[in-house]
Symmetry: C2
Subunit: 89 residues, 2 copies
């Protein structure tokens, strides 16, 4: 990395990684199937029973992979803005 | 909260909140539609074109709400184990 003499970076670096990048390097899933290397769920959409079904994207639902509304609590606690993926028949 | 004399909590507390709880209070979505109070996406499953479509649950896809595989990079960087919701026709 070359820099003009006398100029300093406007990006705060920790071990060469931008701070903003570090702040996004967080564990999203604190508890679901942590023995599994990757949690992938599959929905056969022909099997959907209700006209509308919400699936969790906050990794905090008590009924994961379904959404149970816990994202509302998460958003309030952290200032985040996540919500479910809604499947419509 | 009552505690037997001489016993100490095994949970580390910061301002009365368990540390493990704080560690889960992280922003999941660093960049998607941050002007929106809640990001909810809806899929009309009758409109699915491909036999299999993966939807992002890591909030880091360049093609959100679709999965573009970025969860692999996220999992490697953080030790997390998140993956997409896969819709099958
Ligand atoms: S509970 Fe996780 S998105 Fe609703
Ligand atoms: S890119 Fe986000 S789950 Fe695949």
């Amino acid at each position: 990395l070359q820099r003009a003499p006398g100029r300093t970076s406007r990006v705060s670096l920790v071990a060469g990684v931008a701070r903003s990048e570090i702040e996004t390097q967080v564990v999203l899933n604190p508890s679901i199937a942590k023995d599994s290397p990757k949690v992938v769920d599959t929905v056969e959409v022909s099997g959907l029973e209700k006209p509308v079904t919400a699936y969790c994207r906050c990794w905090r639902s008590g009924t994961f992979p379904l959404c149970d509304g816990t994202h509302v609590k998460h958003n309030k606690a952290t200032g985040d803005n996540v919500g479910p993926l809604v499947l419509k028949k």
